[in-house]
Amino acid sequence: MSAPIVEFKNFGFRYKTQKSPTLYDINLTIRKGEKVLILGPSGSGKSTLANCINGLNPFSYDGVITGSCKVAGMETKDASIFALSKVVGTVLQDSDAQFVGLSVGEDIAFALENQSVPRKEMLPMVDQAARIVGMEDFLMHVPYDLSGGQKQKVALAGVLHGDVELLIFDEPLASLDPRTGMTAVELIDRIHKEQNKTIVIIEHRLEDVLHRRVDRIVLMNEGRIVYDGDADSLLASDLLTRYGIREPLYIMAMKYAGCGMSPGQKLSDIHQLDLSPFEEKLKKQHLMEIEKHVPKIGEEILRVEDVTFAYGKTPVLKDVSFTIRKGEKVAFVGKNGAGKSTMAKLICGIERPRQGRVLMNGADYMSLSIKEIGEKVGYVMQNPNQMLVKDIIKDEVELAMLLRGKSRKEMDEAVKKTLKMCGLWPMRNWPVSAVSYGQKKRVTIASILVLQPDIIILDEPTAGQDFRHYTEIMEFLDELNREYGITIVFITHDMHLAIQYTDRAVVFAEGEVVADDSVFKVLSDDEVINRANLKQTSLYTLARRLGFEPEAYIEHFINYERMVRVHGKPAAD
């Protein structure tokens, strides 16, 4: 066994601004060369733990440490963040905020600049780090030219200098498209193997991380470690569901089929897992008759016809056409930068097509103002802070009606109804600052819903949120759709979400619609997947290995899953 690099002993941490500690009784050893994944619901203390290793706690966030934490032999209480930064490299979640240089080269060089490394020595070091992540041809590029995935690579290169031994990744996959996320996981794995670094990953997207082997998983809940061991045993247990973590799809499928799993099996690797003990049950489940889900779809309400659009000279959207019917749930999926958000802006009339038409309820919308379109289509942005302008929840929801000069009575009624729909009525007089991120998101949805639009478009509604919040938001939207017949468009990178909550996917790649079909068809079409940077889910692999038609298998899974979600699990047969 190799020497330990991180050693927590009876460790605890309390933020100065908090009454009770955030971390309790942490006993954890990470050895040189290990690759560890930290899981846990939101607020369980994962980032706090990571920041105790890299020195941000207590350097940047004041707090009290009890017990001991040694990193590379240094007691973190006494070591400076600078000394620690020579051993520990950290890549934060927000790839935009941590890109502090004005070009790729400068950002990679930032740590070296701070150490006053002469420029002559700096250049080859930057070059080498860029080469490791494959960004050597982009050194002169400015941050706005880069995709989210490329920024993430630059962030990684920026901490690879010198003898950094331990790399910490705090949610590296948020807001990357599925393929780019997969490449990031592969890149981390390559650095783990080739550079011989110790790796700690914090991530909600378990299925994506398991694309490459991890040595160990640490599960946290409410500031304590509740599991510390190998991935296989964790997947076999019911700990994940108990602590509100999303299980990989193939594990879900196997559990639906009633497969009894045990820790001895290679459950964490869908390719290596020996399926023979489960085959029978999985086959039986697949043959089970389930009612097919037929979405209730009304007449056409939106038609996009040959729309072409450009911000500058190069077109961002080319000859895009599709239609949306009342009561549908549609997902816009595709590569980073493919034009999904731009399409949403076109539908809302914020941008207008250069060529082609957009028809609403059969009429061309060119004569309508943004304000008038706003009554038909609501657009919920990714970042709720960009939308909230008032400080009391009720005022925020009222704003749109107030601006339209509605009567007090009409307004009160609509606001009350909307707040009740969104479960915000009891909190109507609360300040916006006092509610959680997920609730803020709800307030923004309410402020759009109050106008009773026909369609509501949500841009990445769940990015960077844990499973509990995610489920909460999605169930709420699902209900709106079921109970009130509101048409919903999601823009998302999460194939899980697309599978579970939408009926149809419009797939974008390089400004074109490359597919427009039911989700299970799209996700079993290799060509579409390749062009749009999507990724096959583990269900596809599972179906292939069992010799099923992937398309049919995924459809069956979706129907079953929907049934469980709406009606509960059927009694065991």
Binding site: S60, D391, W425, P426, M427, R428, N429, W430, P431, V432, S433, A434
Partner: protein, 195 residues
């Protein structure tokens, strides 16, 4: 005395530097895209809100730097050339406005009372008079020569526009921001009320 000096200087860590930089960037953006033009050199600009924020969070010296650097940046991205007489004037105004925490208004802790609003309004008037009524015109004449009264009048027109924005737009924003950062206390779920 020592405490006053500390409030004046603020704490100089990485956070302060980044906040000053973000403030300066915001200043540059608002100066160029967020103004309501009234006269050539003078716009009814909302950029002047930046020192209020930086000052209330980090103290007057950071506000001073944020403002004068912000003005240089506004010139650099806008293309109007670099005019240091105005940068220094804006910086001085930023400093005076940034005195907020000295009289107890702490926006990021949610403290902004009517008394503070009154003091703030007075401080704005004094600050503008000093910055654009004295410092900027004197510097302009010293640097480039010219007629003192006209230069003075022009700078003063800019100063009045600034004061107007700082008071008319600034006070509601300060209230709104303070309310935003005030952590709600005694929040209760209100039950269904049948009316």
């Amino acid at each position: 005395m020592n405490k006053v000096l500390k409030t004046l200087l603020g704490v100089w860590n990485t956070k302060t530097i980044v906040a000053i930089a973000i403030g300066a960037a915001l200043f540059g953006v608002l100066m160029n895209y967020g103004g309501i033009p009234i006269y050539t050199n003078t716009r009814l600009t909302t950029a002047m809100i930046v020192p209020v924020i930086v000052g209330s969070m980090f103290g007057p010296v950071p506000a001073f730097i944020s403002c004068s650097v912000g003005n240089v940046i506004a010139d650099l991205i806008g293309g109007w050339g670099l005019w240091f007489d105005w940068s220094v004037g804006n910086g001085v105004l930023g400093f005076i406005i940034g005195l907020l925490p000295l009289y107890g208004a702490k926006i990021n802790e949610g403290i902004f009372k009517p008394v503070h609003a009154v003091i703030y309004a007075i401080v704005c008037v004094i600050g503008n008079a000093l910055a654009f009524g004295v410092i900027t015109p004197l510097l302009t004449v010293a640097f480039y020569g010219g007629e003192l009264t006209i230069t003075f009048l022009q700078a003063f027109a800019g100063g009045i526009a600034n004061t107007a924005v700082l008071v008319i737009v600034g006070i509601p924003i300060l209230y709104a921001l303070a309310r935003r950062s005030a952590r709600g206390s005694n929040l209760v779920m209100e039950e269904e009320k049948e009316e």
